[in-house]
């Protein structure tokens, strides 16, 4: 009698993308081993703003991916996997003056053109919908059906549901090539040789050295703040508040740069716990500190949106270092030269939103199925001028 053994998948990186890949691969029948140089959610996932949102995306592949990304959250929430960790809420994009109003209207057209459900609120109607907003805010578009998820909580859920084992503090030293050309059959790691039929690289910035993609991937820091619990204030704010200047901050052509080469884009997100998350900066550095200048500036802007935040105490400041690509789109797909190595990294600030969707795509690629979105804009080979992996 023939004994078929399960195919073995080794996932490098236990952030949200690795964890979601583990979940979908294990449902597809793989025996999954995860490894992380530190621990689950210890990188960008563990210090993310948690937005599961289409609102700030520009039309194009990233907007389409984000729409599918939010749907994947709803599916997993419906399946019970994300019970208690995914908060469905709207995003309100706010305009303070005529110029911002114009930006907002153009953006609303783009979003609704992609089938996103919107509502426009003006003046008194806005202040009835969202309490405690500054009267200086003139209008807002409400993007419905979005949500918030804390990266480390989602990651923990996905790992537990996958049944995968996780090797913590485990570094990849090299790949072992199979006799069959064009495939790997093992990872050489600090914890010994791990044999695998499929390898998924989801190690953020750590993927760069493994793939020789150092020039395509760069660290980008974001500072974030969390307040104490303020349940009464929190309850009156029905969704995430995003200054429409955030669109400008995300746009690389816009120059809201300060002398230190950093951009600010304000988000005030009422969390499930009754706390507020306030973000954030985008800075071209891998250093993880937070500084008084940035924190004060974010708080001044947050108080300008929601004056009653003055009454609340700041509990924590932290910074995450995300892995960004030169063109702002992640790398998702096969690694050229190998038929059993997949890469999924470079999500910058969109890892939480796109992580579960990406896990699903990884599993679809592994089984040779059609993928949930067109992957050509995300093809890793677009940066493939550099030398092949060691």
């Amino acid at each position: 009698m023939a004994v078929t053994r399960k195919l073995r998948a080794a996932i490098v990186g236990a952030g949200i993308v690795g964890a979601a890949s583990a979940y979908f691969l294990s449902r597809a029948g793989f025996a999954v081993q995860m490894l992380d140089a530190a621990a689950p959610a210890s990188g960008a996932t563990g210090s993310a703003d948690g937005a599961v949102s289409v609102a700030s995306k520009r039309p194009g592949p990233m907007m389409e991916a984000a729409i599918r990304g939010v749907e994947t959250y709803r599916d997993l929430h419906g399946a019970g996997i994300f019970e208690g960790v995914f908060k469905e809420r709207s995003t309100f994009m706010l305009a303070q003056d005529a110029a911002e109003d114009a930006v907002l209207e153009a953006h609303a057209v783009a979003l609704s053109g992609n089938g996103v459900e919107l509502r426009l609120h003006r003046e008194d109607a806005l202040h009835r919908t969202v309490q405690n907003l500054s009267r200086a805010i003139r209008s807002a578009i409400e993007v419905r059906g979005e949500g918030h998820a804390i990266g480390y909580e989602v990651t923990s859920r996905l790992i537990a549901a996958s049944g995968a084992t996780v090797a913590r503090g485990c570094r990849v030293n090299g790949f072992r090539t199979a006799s069959r050309s064009g495939s790997l059959d093992a990872l050489e790691t600090s914890a010994g040789t791990i044999e695998a039929d499929l390898v998924v690289l989801a190690a953020g910035g750590g993927s760069a050295s493994l793939l020789g993609l150092a020039s395509a991937l760069r660290p980008r820091k974001g500072q974030l703040l969390v307040t104490e619990r303020a349940p009464a204030l929190n309850a009156g704010i029905r969704g995430s508040l995003m200054s429409c200047r955030y669109l400008m901050s995300k746009d690389s052509t816009e120059t809201r740069m300060t002398g230190s080469g950093r951009r600010f884009g304000l988000v005030v997100d009422p969390l499930r716990t009754g706390q507020f998350l306030i973000g954030g900066t985008r800075e071209e550095t891998a250093e993880r500190g937070t500084d008084a200048d940035a924190v004060r500036r974010l708080l001044v802007e947050a108080v300008a949106l929601v004056p009653r935040l003055r009454e609340v105490r700041l509990l924590r400041t932290f910074a995450g270092v995300r892995t960004a690509t030169a063109d702002g789109r992640p790398l998702i797909g096969r690694v050229r030269g190998f038929d059993n190595v997949l890469v999924a990294t470079g999500f910058e600030g969109d890892g939480i939103c796109l992580g579960p969707l990406t896990g699903k795509i990884v599993s679809q690629l592994a089984r040779g199925e059609p993928t949930a979105i067109d992957l050509s804009p995300f093809d890793p080979a677009r940066f493939a001028t550099q030398e092949q992996a060691a």
Binding site: A39, E153, G289, D291, R296, L299, V303, R310, R313, L315
Partner: protein, 441 residues
């Protein structure tokens, strides 16, 4: 506020002697404390409205006279009601001025942190109930107001401070119904003999124990508090002796204390940009006399550093104090684990977020090999308002019982951070030095 050469945080024995030494050397010093006057926890001065009670043995009172003369002599002045919120990634110290509701940022060449020690309190069923406080907390209230809490008081836990509090409560007119001590120092004669090498500690021991005996306060040794329950508007405290004998006490207040540890929560430390060192009990909890010497030592290290001279050698007196404290610790060492592995599941571990021992056990069972950081984030331990001050040591101890990870440090849960304590957003956005900073809307 002008950038000083040196920022000294804390006005207890270590901070006073550090600030005075730096000022005497001609350096500009910004010396801050969250209180409005020097003294620290040990020499806490009564608030203006209350009557002073002379506390403690002569050695403590003599130290205060000496320290007081020292800082008055050097002319260094305390900037009071100012909290230290931490150092940011640019090396800037963020200070919170409580009286004006503002913050200010200063750049110092060096920083001496002398923020003392904090009490350890072990988790026990019911330790979160109203009416339960720490012995140190009750002591501070007593020193500030001059009056004891009303109703029956029980003092319980481990270490000599419980006796000091009992003495002070008796002096203030409300002696506790008993002092329960987890260890049994009388059964450790060899350690008691070793204590004789430190005449000052013997003097302090005699001072407190004779007063406890004179006030007829029962000192019950080898007793652990295993449960505290609400009972008819009061607290019913169940204690168990080593031989299994159970005794309950009905009281209005219970003061708990299980030793002290350096107050290092969230504190930075480093040799570069700025040069940051710790002094006194927040470096190593050796008591007030050692802290005074250590503060001076820290100041001399900073002076040497700023002048590019070699660092001075550690003071030999600190070794003697360390031996004495070790002896005292051995004398008062309780039997068994500090945090019992068999605590009931519903025992609160994190009082800020209401997380229990059972929550921790469930998390560990579901995630084999889980790291302390994951325990923090996914278990929400050390994530609340106190940022781990009350739970980090206890969670770390239970993680070690869990066995897979080896020794676990509370620092793995609390980390280095700013703000060190929660800080009002209103204060943070109002810069005391910048009239153009945000004003109330």
């Amino acid at each position: 506020m002008r950038d000083p050469d040196v920022l000294v945080v804390g006005a207890g024995p270590a901070g006073i002697s550090a600030a005075a030494e730096l000022a005497a050397a001609g350096l500009s010093v910004l010396w801050i404390d969250q209180r409005d006057r020097p003294g620290g926890a040990i020499h806490r001065q009564p608030s203006a409205a209350s009557t002073a009670i002379a506390f403690g043995p002569a050695s403590v009172r003599n130290q205060w006279r000496r320290l007081h003369a020292r800082f008055q002599g050097t002319g260094v002045s305390l900037t009071g009601e100012t909290g230290f919120a931490g150092i940011d990634s640019d090396g800037v110290a963020i200070l919170e001025q409580r009286h004006s509701g503002t913050t200010t940022c200063v750049r110092a060449k060096a920083i001496i942190l002398a923020v003392g020690a904090v009490e350890r309190v072990l988790p026990r069923p019911g330790w979160h109930l109203p009416g339960v406080c720490t012995a140190g907390g009750m002591q501070v209230m007593l020193k500030e107001t001059g009056s004891p809490p009303r109703g029956r008081v029980l003092v319980a836990g481990n270490g000599p401070l419980t006796l000091a509090l009992a003495t002070q409560l008796a002096a203030a007119g409300n002696p506790p119904v008993a002092v329960l001590e987890a260890s049994d120092p009388f059964r450790r004669p060899s350690h008691a003999l070793a204590l004789m090498r430190s005449p000052r500690l013997v003097g302090e021991a005699l001072h407190y124990s004779t007063r406890v005996a004179f006030a007829r306060i029962p000192w019950k040794r080898g007793r652990r508090v295993v449960a505290i329950e609400s009972h008819g508007g009061a607290l019913r405290v169940r204690s168990v002796a080593k031989n299994g004998y159970v005794e309950t006490f009905d009281v209005e207040h219970i003061a708990l204390h299980d030793g002290i540890r350096p107050n290092t929560f969230g504190l930075p430390e480093g040799e570069a940009r700025p040069f940051i060192i710790r002094a006194g009990d927040c470096r190593e909890a050796l008591g007030a006399v050692a802290a005074e010497v250590d503060g001076k030592q820290a100041a001399r290290r900073v002076i040497a550093r700023l002048r590019g001279e070699p660092a001075p050698k550690p003071h030999p007196m600190l070794n003697a104090e360390r031996r004495a404290q070790d002896t005292l610790a051995s004398l008062f060492r309780p039997h068994g684990d500090a945090v019992p592995a068999d605590l009931p599941d519903d025992t609160i571990l994190c009082r800020c977020e209401g997380r229990t021992v059972g929550d921790l056990r469930t998390l560990l069972a579901a995630h084999p090999g889980i790291s302390p950081r994951e325990v923090k984030l996914n278990g929400r331990f050390a994530m609340g308002l106190c940022q781990g001050r009350f739970c980090a040591d206890n969670v770390a101890a239970l993680l070690e019982h869990g066995g897979e990870t080896g020794p676990v440090s509370a620092d793995a849960l609390t980390g280095t951070r700013w703000p060190i304590r929660p800080i009002a957003i209103a204060s943070l956005i109002r810069d005391a030095d910048d009239p153009n900073s945000s004003t109330p809307q």
